[in-house]
Amino acid sequence: MKKNTYYKAAGCLSLAMAAVMPASAQNTTTASVERQKLENIWVNNTDNAAAGVIDAPSRYSLSDLNFGMTKGDFKRVQQGKDNNSVGFHTEGGGIYEKMGGMYLWGEFSYSRDRIKGARFNASLIDPLRGMPFLLADSTASKWINQDYSMRMKVAFPKLFDCLTLGVGASYQNAQGAKQVDPRPLMRLSKIGVTPSAVVEIGKHNFLGAHFDYYNRREDGNPTNTNNRVNQAGWDFVAPGFFQTGEFGSFSSLSSKRFYNANAMGGGVQYGFKNDRLNLLVSGSYMQKVEDVDNQYSGESTASIRKMIGTVKEELWNGKLVANYTFNSGNILALNIGYTDKSIDGIEYLQTYDNSFDVQAWIINAKFTRSNFSTKQTDVKLDYMVTDDGNSYKWWMGAQYTKLTDGYVYYQPRSTQDVETAVLGAFVSRNIRLCDRHALTLTVNGGYSTNRSGELDYHGYKADNVGFTMLTLKDFEFLCTDYAKFGGEVTYTFSGFKNPSMSLYVTADFDYYKPDSEIFSKRTFTNFKVGVAF
């Protein structure tokens, strides 16, 4: 019987991931899902899948097609200047009473991005993911990236009336293809698993823990379609530290590059919940180790790959989330988060032993030569005026973020430190025009101010464009104050196809205005059409 239950759960999970969910009793809209996400603090603030039973969210499903455009020069050098994206996204889940109160949730997304005008990247689908070892060229290039991502969470029926076990899993597959020589075709796959548990202590107290593991691989080979013209390139080990070379036949940068990461970590959580207060305190730690190696043209076996470097990333995260529900049903939500990320860049000293029975790069020594540190504190306060149903009338919030971002290259010692504070606020009004029509209007604004910024470079290539056009310009970007404002309009038509299903159309626009003579602006425009049920 129990076996049958699990088979059903698996089947239903698949259905959830495809967003073909059975209709819930109440009308589901994007606003109702937003309210639910604010209320369900465990599901949306931790990776503990078992905690789904604490939040016990009602079942929902969202599926949408989206199109986005990003334009403007206020960006990191490696980001595109004129981008567009099409995608499909679906998510859904909730508590299934008929399956012993299991929690099931799944998400699938596909995106296809055209990134135009990106520079200094010839080896990574996402050059800003915290990987200092990268190949680069200076040509303004177009990348076409495709990404397929899936995630799921399951919380199994309660054991011993107090223990819930859960598991989360994720899979990502992506390709990135640069459209100008040198043009790598990068392939990425990532698979992760997150087992978890929650123990109820009495009616109101909860203790949770989860373990997290993922493996991530990315590889590709920058080649030229015009093999008569070599392309100048850079082999970076850190910002401002690189070797120059050429992509092309017989050239120094003609190699296949492999990135292989393993990450392990976990977290613990404590929660308190009664009719008024929903409190969560959580902490997590994750360590990722990513090896970077090259396989050169003409070398076919893995044994003669050369280590380029290793990245050791440690990520600490702490959160305090508290929701207070007033008699009126209105919600005051406080969310404080702190993240400390430290990335060590490890470089190797190697010699090639080409004696007949060895033929391999031999590691003589390895040293931590760089460290990248990011510390972020977020304080967010929301107030939601709920309506009679499962949605809201007003939702307003303010957020303060303090971000310190820096790196050190130990020898020759070079450092960069940037501290930024961002203050933002938003107001949303969900207007029910009549029984079946609703309009949600959101306006937001914010200001980012650079509190300090210092780049102290003692490398030997200060005149090289690999420093002036990438490191220096990125530093200028990070130190630039900006104002941001935007808005979003969502029209919802309820009762589409069936009474609980709604059709929605969303348009949003964000405008970033930097206080700078170098940068002019950045705009984000997105359109979305989907169904919620």
């Binding site: 080990v237 070379g245 017989f250 050791k312 931590t368």
Partner: protein
Amino acid sequence: MKNYLKIAFSISSAAALCSCVGMMDDAQNVPVIEPITVSYKVSAATGFIPKGGIVDPDPSFSTQGVTVSFLESATGAVTTGVTDADCVATVELIPGDYTISVTGKVENDGTEYYLNGSINSVSLVKDISKQEAMASSGLVVRPAKVGSLCISEIYYCGIAPYYFRDQTYQIYNNGNQVEYLDGLCFAQLHPNIASATSVPPVWPDEEGENNYVYGLMVWQFPGSGQEYPLQPGESVVVVQEARDHRENNPASFDNSMADWECWTGNVQRDNPDVENMPLLYAQSLNKLQWLTSVFGAAFCIYRADDGTVLDEAYYKDKNNTQTEVNKSSRYARIPASYILDGVELMPNMDILDKKRIPGFVDAGAASVGDTYCGKVVARKVVGTRPDGTPIFSDTNNSTDDFEVLDSPMIRRYGQKAPAWSK
């Protein structure tokens, strides 16, 4: 069947877990890099240097006062020191892979010698005391007599779009007395290309270290002994193909007045008005043309130090050619004592640590930094003779001796043509 699947799954999972744990374990407690103090000895050796460079330094040959440069390949940092009375230089370095170069001029028994040499890919990862340095052989440098003949200008990179037939080499008498070109050999050295990923060739142990360089192609100036005198301030022009190349590519230049053409047998590419340089040895003959790497090859001029004129029979003797370990291609084996001058060219100067010929031939390298850019490497002028001809820099270190100029020129800076030149 199910059991097999379970076992396979379990083994795979265990292997994956072990691999993951091993990889993560390797990244723990990696020390932060700190500067180290390194003492490094420079020795001079005049005889055969065995493999590994382990040779007793000649005690009568002091290397005091030469400059030792440590080039770190990762950052391009260059640290220099000067050898003391114990022939040891002491410097503070970042741990890393280094190219160590020695450059200087010393006097021994009344004769001036260049003391230039370099060694690649030396891992320096911990302190080396002066006592430790003195107990080792350090860098063993082969002294080179200060000579007169030198390669004064090389145009090798070609010009857009992909035109390379105008490659031109000029050899100059930089000394104070007449030199005879007769029997002089002009060699393109192996390997033809250097890159950041290239691995140096491995020669048999009996070759020792820095005793030879190896020729891919060897051309020889004709003459019976004194037919082709080169007076101080005179130069000769040797080309791949002698013609006014502007007819083929307007951006190219005219080298039809060359003294010799290095012709490999393509009847369509022979200029009958220019004498062909005799080919003494070819590792692999390309009958279309003699094209040296547009990324930059390496060259030397040499003749036997005992006065013997080398001939084809000399290179038919396998004792005078050599193969790399586990390979079959044979290269002309050129003893160090034969070499009068050499120049190493690189794709760019950022990969100087990938030098592929010994420092006694050229302690540095030169580069125009690009292909098909029409630029040229030419020796710097350090003085002028009373007749107006230039005196070129010749320290046996091309990094210092050469500069990059925008276009090739025949007999630049007032160099004279020999009387016998057409």
